[in-house]
Amino acid sequence: MRAYLMFKEGAAGKPPLCADPDALMADLELRRILTQMSAGDDTVYDVCKDALLRPLQSVQAVEYRREVLKDALSNPDIVRRLYAICAAVDRVKGRFSPTARLAEPFKNALELLKTYLKMLRDLRAAVDNKLLNFKSEGFRKLVELLERELTDDHFNTVSDYLKEISNTDNILVSAKLGSHLHSVDYTLRRKEKGFWMRWLSAASFTADSERNPEEMADISNRQERAVSEASNILKWSALYLESFFNMLRNELAFFVGCLNLSEKIRGLGMPQCFPELLPPDSRERVWHGLYDVSLALTIDGPVVGNDLEVSGKNLYIITGANQGGKSTFLRSMGQAQLMAQSGMFVGAECFAAPVRRGLFTHFKREEDRNMQTGRLEEELSRMSAIVDKVARGSMVMLNESFSSTNEREGSEICRQVTKGLTDNGVEVFSVSHLYLYAASFLGDDTTQFLRAQRREDAARTFKILPGEPLETAYGEDLYRQIFTQAGRPLGDD
């Protein structure tokens, strides 16, 4: 019994996890986005994280989930209500945990199961609503499932069994002979018709409390064990239900996360759109107003977006001013790719991109304190780990790669790596200030050059526009800016 909100074919449709999730989380600043989506709910966080880091591999899979998301966006209350019922599992389980009421494990197990049954009834009631307006296959299947399985008949049968198992003072158990003839395979049995008459004449043994306290203890122990097996059966029944609630919770969590994020973005006055996904072999990309969602959430306000329409490119080299928005641009592109392939809306007015097999990031690691291997060696080994896992149809983002050595060496290594990737069907976005590297691709018509802009007053616009690499860097800008702000002009050196 399962829901099919995330995948048409259930968990079998789950695509593989991106190769280095930790790097993606850090490099694309996904944490902030996920925190917003989760609104403090760990399950929502984990499920959304998993969805983002498992990019769907076909346009159909994306569209299937997107239809479910559209339903959620137009029925937010019912989706949140269903989620809340399932999410109560944690709280309920805690209330009846063995430590909460140590004295009465049987009663505990019984009460827990009864509470779960109540939650099942709530689920049934929640979808018993004439105003439901679900159009997607995923949500329609779910409603159908709840209506079919949660019938009154089922609830009645279950309550008969519960009554019988509650009679713990008169128990019937069957047993067989084990390997050394000890009793095994104890099974609780329902008492047959005419039970008492038939059993009157049975061989019996009554413990004698005075002569032999061990015997008393044993029989009481056998009774306890039978009751504890009854608790065990109740516990397992509850576990089955719990697994169902958790399954449903996990299926709903992603859409609750999307609701939370969508509402927040709208509140910030920033655009969101459902992207157009192109087949994997397409070399077209369109973006208008593409912005870094995580940055917008951080400054809690609008941020600058970028625009471009290109085709026939598989390498994007981004150069230009320091702190000109290059990393931000890379992040916005990476976020949009992952969000698009998880069936979400993206942070843009308009976005079209090919489906990508996987996403890899190779960002400069300034904070890396582990200098034992040396920076370049560290960069090389990280790149080699990417090359180990990258496959045709993937997308790799380089951010200031191989800048830990001199420009000539760095450029040559970076050029060879980049060319090795693009010539083998991998799309590359590369931010670099290595001029020799960038210039080596001049005149190649599958390369799109982009440049972080600078206005005459030296203030950054944070716009990334088409433009070939310039041979000067903008470090001087930064220098001037910092010294000016500090009230300490350059001096006259």
């Binding site: 198992i165 390997s179 000890h182 609780l188 089955y240």
Partner: protein, 525 residues
């Protein structure tokens, strides 16, 4: 007649054995090597533990070549995965049987009458079944193999005639008949404290099953399925016996047959087979220990055992303790060779520190020790010395606190070694005289070398004093080396070459970036 899988004859088996670690154990890190077998529970699935009577076999290097070869043949044969799996399966099945048989015998001879009850009889039946099944299975499997080693062949023959004996065949048949009848028994208990009633089971419906099936449709694939909470465990033994008596009344004939089985077969076990069960674990535990190393591609071999020093050698040997410690690491284990061809007898190792000298010394000692246990040793190929003892002098950490007394201590220990050593001993001296002046050290070192030369036994000396490496025709000079491209990097290769103190100095300079090329490279920036 077969007696033991560790010794060709009963007499050899009864020679005295050492019950504690030999002196060289700690210095050679043999304690680390055997720790997973003797002290840790590494899940080797065998019961060689400290305190078990198997322990002494690991502490007693053999001095007679026949027994070593007897063991080598068995061990080599047991390298076959199929055969080993067979024996391992047997060991698992027989495990614990000795204790159980003891308990059964105690119960029936107990002065308390109720101790002898149907549960005890049931237990005997159970272990008769396990034991005969394990033995039959092994005997049949072994009979289909062409065994080469005298030990395993002897055991297989023994087993083959054992299972053909009339008594064994009759016992198996009786057990089978009896078990069939017993497993048809199923009864119901009605528990109404403090009374239990017993009747035959008559098809009453499973209550828990009914409830679970009403909920099973909710179970998700990744959620486990119901497991019984184990209702029938840890009962009061005596009450269980009483209830079983009630069941025995309901099923009278079956339990009478159980009585007659018990009377006939209460002494079903066989000493020779149980001895094999214990002793074969000597080999199995070693194979399990080295399995991860072999998997990593490290070579092991059965060395030729030499009674004289005319030609000793090893190819691609390594420190087993270090290799085991690093067994999960990707980097390859460095292997080394040595050769001693008469008149050479003494290996003298010099070269950069942390270059693998001590490791080499340990490996040298370890392979000799392991060879004398009859086990395979690290290396592709080897010819090793049949020694009476291994005498070692390694710097001990606790010595550092009493630095002043250290030279004295060194000398006392050296004297002890020389006192004990015979021409059949192996002497390993690692970094001696480090606490005194170079002049002192080299003078004392020369004295030591002279003594070792006279001894006519193989020896290995690790030293920082170059001249000891060219002491005489007995000495072979070997050096720890550094990489040619990157002098700061140790290769851990110990090569046969003349001592070269300069290389060591250059290595230090390189480590600090002060070699000529490095300096010019820096200045060029």
């Amino acid at each position: 007649m077969f007696y033991s899988i560790l010794f060709p004859t009963r007499e050899q088996h009864q020679q005295p054995r050492s019950s504690s670690e030999p002196d060289c154990f700690a210095d050679l890190n043999l304690d680390q090597i055997f720790a997973p077998i003797l002290t840790e529970d590494k899940g080797f699935g065998v019961s060689v533990k400290k305190g078990s009577d198997l322990e002494s076999f690991f502490y007693t290097p053999l001095q007679d070549k026949d027994t070593i070869v007897y063991r080598q043949e068995v061990a080599r044969e047991l390298e076959d995965d199929g055969l080993r799996a067979l024996i391992m399966a047997f060991v698992h099945k027989i495990k614990g049987i000795e204790e159980i048989v003891g308990e059964i015998r105690n119960a029936i001879t107990s002065p308390l009458k109720w101790h002898d009850n149907f549960l005890v009889r049931g237990r005997l039946l159970e272990f008769t079944e396990k034991y005969s099944a394990a033995i039959t299975e092994l005997a049949e499997a072994l009979s289909g193999l062409r065994l080469r080693s005298a030990g395993l062949r002897g055991f297989a023959d023994y087993l083959a005639s054992y299972i053909k004996s009339e008594e064994f065949i009759e016992m198996c048949a009786h057990a089978r008949r009896l078990r069939e009848k017993l497993s048809s028994v199923e009864y119901c208990m009605n528990i109404k404290f403090p009374t239990i009633r017993i009747r035959r089971y008559e098809g009453q419906e499973d209550l828990g099953g009914a409830l679970l099936s009403a909920f099973s449709k909710f179970r998700q694939e990744d959620t486990e399925e119901y497991q019984s909470g184990g209702m029938s465990e840890s009962q009061d033994y005596r009450t269980e016996a009483t209830l079983l008596n009630m069941v025995a009344v309901v099923y009278e004939d079956i339990f009478a047959d159980l009585d007659s089985f018990f009377d006939k077969y209460s002494g079903f076990d066989n000493d020779t087979i149980l001895r094999f069960f214990r002793e074969v674990q000597f080999y199995l535990s070693w194979q399990a220990l080295i399995a991860p190393l072999k998997q990593k591609g490290l070579p092991f071999c059965y060395p030729a055992i030499c009674a004289d020093v005319s030609h000793l050698y090893s190819r691609d040997g390594f420190d087993m303790a270090l290799a085991y410690m690093n067994r999960h690491k990707a980097e390859p284990v460095v292997t080394n060779d040595f050769t001693l061809t008469a008149p050479e007898r003494i290996l003298v190792i010099t070269g950069p520190n942390q270059g693998g000298k001590t490791t080499f010394a340990r490996a040298f000692g370890q392979m000799h020790y392991l060879a004398a246990l009859g086990l395979c040793v690290p290396g592709r190929e080897a010819a090793l010395y049949l020694f009476d003892k291994i005498l070692t002098h390694f710097e001990r950490e606790e010595d550092l606190s009493t630095l002043s007394g250290k030279l004295q201590d060194d000398l006392i220990r050296l004297r002890d070694i020389m006192d004990k050593a015979t021409e059949r001993s192996i002497v390993i001296v690692n970094e001696i005289f480090g606490s005194t002046t170079f002049k002192d050290a080299s003078a004392l070192g020369r004295r030591m070398m002279k003594a070792l030369s006279k001894l006519e036994a193989p020896a290995l000396v690790v030293t920082f004093i170059d001249e000891l490496a060219v002491f005489g025709p007995e000495t072979v000079s070997m050096m720890s080396t550094v990489s040619e491209e990157d002098p700061a990097r140790r290769t851990f290769k110990i090569l046969r070459k003349p001592p070269d103190g300069l290389a060591y100095a250059m290595c230090l300079a390189t480590k600090h970036g002060l070699a000529y090329e490095q300096i010019s490279g820096r200045l060029a920036q």
